[in-house]
Every structure is written in C-alpha cells, then in structure tokens.
Symmetry: C2
Subunit: 206 residues, 2 copies
C-alpha cells in the first residue's frame, strides 16, 4: 500500500504521516525524495532545495529561471519536479510508503492500492505550531498568518500546475482530516484505521 | 454527539448517514427536518418541499418569489431555511442526531460535540447510483451527468449563501470521505470509528 498526504502548511500533516509510517512499518518520504531526485537528475543539491514545490506558472519565477543556464529545454523547477516524480515512482515500486506532498497522488494515480489524504487545520492551531518551532519553519510571530497563507498558495499553485487537479478540494482525496479537531495523533489513528479498511477490501476482492 | 453530513448528489452520503445513525443509535434527520420546519413555521407542505435547499441568490428565484405573497419581509426560501435551522437546533438539544445537508454544521457551529462530514464520490459511481434508483432521483440516463452537476451547484449555492462557507472544500469539514473508494458501508465504518475517537477525547478532557 501507498499513502500520499497533501497538507496545509503548519497542519502537522507531515508529522501525522511519520506516525502512520512508524505504526504500519512503511517507508517515509518527505524531503528525502528531494535528495533522491537530486542524485538521479544531476541537479545540484542547492538548486534542488531552492526549487522544491515551487509553482511553474509565476512570471517572476519564469524570469528568474530564464537567467539560469539549464542545458535543457525545461526550466529548473520543472526538471526538479519530474525528477521527483520519477523518484516517487521508483520508491513506490519497492516498498509500502508514505509520501508527503509533491503531487505523489497524481504521480501514482493509476495504482489501486494508493490512499490519497489531505490534512488541514484551523489557522489558530497552525499559527501556534509554526511559532513554537522556529528552527523548523523560520517564521516569526509577527507575520505568521501571512506566511502560512503564502505557503498554502504556493503548494496549491504547484499542485494545480502539474496535476490540473484542485488542491484542498475534498473530492480530490479519498480522505481529508482536520488535525486541529482530533490532534495529530488522533489523525494518525484515523488514517491507520482507514488504510487497514481499504487493505481488507482489496484482499477480499482477490 | 451530533453528526452533520454534507454530500455530493448521488454519493450515498444520506445512506451512509442512516447506517451510522442505526449503528450508534442516533436519530436520523434528512427530509424529516422539513416536516418539522413546516409544522413550526406555518408554511404549507407544498411550499416547503418546493423550496428545500434552494439557493437564495439566484435572480430567477428572486423574481419568482417576489410574485408570491409571503406576508413577511423574507422570501419563502429564506423563511423555510430559517425554520429548518430552528428545527435543527431544537432536535440537536434533545438527542444524539445525524443531520443530512441543510447547513446543520453551520447552525450548530458553537457546539464542541459536533462532527462535520462531507461525502463525495467519482462521477461514474454517482451516475450508476442515480440511474439505478429512478424512483428516488427521477432522473433518466440521458441527462444524468448534467443533472448531477446541477444538483451539486444548487447545494453549493444554498450552503455558501447561508453560511458564507465553502461547500466541498476539505477545510470546511472535520472529515471528508470518498464513498466510491471505500463503498457506502466502508464510509459508515470509518465515520463510526472517527466519531468514537472524538467521543473518547471529549470524555478524557472532562
């Protein structure tokens, strides 16, 4: 089984995914997929980190990217995205995995043993989480709400650009959960239950 | 506990809600809330059925409604909506309940023991359900997809008009589920698990 998790910024979707991976014994890929993509593509680690989950349709990005010699027809952010998509495909063939973000649901859309999730939370919950972990988020209390909305916008743009889907719309996912309602451990609980229900159904089909 | 279920047309959200109500011993309100609202408001049953879940912001409706003497400042669809909202509040004070549609999540938004759900399904699943039950849906196979989209649009307009929320957006609900993925019984299973998880958390808080 494969679990993909889209998530609002600061919702703890990545953390919930990690708990799920630990409980089910699945491999966990968040930033890890970046390193794999960088190695496979020959892009420098700096470029890879700079362009992670960057939307492809912004004029400023296009202008910026056009100043970088890529040695290729595709702008760097797209090269990186496709390298990530390949890394996701390769990893998904080898093990049960949890993927955080990076359009993994779209990349693996042909497989029936994939559960696509979306984790969201109310703004207050997200603000508190982001402010409490400056070493992770690098965001100060003053502009936290604006920063959160900006990151959500980026994720939506990135996702919708590559998938033509609708990031954050309930019908884009098999299961969507509010982590500010159940808590991150509660969300992990509910995900494990849901995945096991699906697993059972697939076994009975055979 | 109170469970509210928003649902795409033909997704089986009402059916899933009924299963959940049976399993948890909750009261179930779908069209029932209409009858209660009609009785309390003095509106005729015919008007009540005609204006159920009708959006309030359409020019054609406004024109139509302006031709009807209401004996009140509010157009009939809004009178009915507010009568329904009252009926929902009254019912929710008396028992554990499941409410289908009709902005119940918004009406009961101040209560902490409410679980707000959204059920959706892919178009193929919904088409098959709708065509298989002409006695329920009164829709023929030829124009089924258009009819489904039209009903969804109506529900979204109705909901967004009264709540200023965002019908079908994942972050508008505590839990959103795809009934074409797990099946309607699977969805009911997952809901029961989720509700019991929340119930346990609320007990531990006390």
């Amino acid at each position: 089984m494969i679990i993909t998790i889209g998530r609002q910024f600061g919702s703890g979707g990545g953390e919930a995914g990690k708990l799920v991976a630990e409980r089910l014994g699945y491999k966990f890929y968040d930033n890890e997929i970046l390193t794999m993509a960088a190695e496979a593509s020959g892009l420098s680690p700096a470029a890879v980190s700079r362009f992670d989950e960057q939307p492809g349709n912004s004029l400023i990005y296009s202008m910026y990217m056009s100043t970088i010699p890529t040695g290729d027809m595709l702008p760097i952010n797209q090269q990186l995205a496709f390298a990530q998509f390949n890394a996701i495909r390769v990893a998904a063939r080898q093990d049960n995995c949890v993927f955080i973000g990076r359009c993994a649901d779209y990349v693996l859309r042909q497989r029936r043993d994939v559960v696509d999730l979306f984790i969201h939370a109310d703004m207050e919950f997200r603000k508190q989480r982001v402010i409490a972990a400056p070493e992770v988020y690098h965001i100060t209390a003053e502009n936290v709400e604006r920063a959160i909305r900006k990151q959500d916008k980026k994720r939506a743009d990135y996702y919708n650009f590559f998938t033509h889907g609708s990031w954050g719309s309930a019908d884009n996912y098999h299961l969507a959960l509010d982590s500010s309602y159940l808590g991150i451990e509660g969300v992990a609980d509910a995900i494990v239950y849901f995945v096991q229900l699906r697993e059972k159904q697939l076994k009975e089909e055979k």
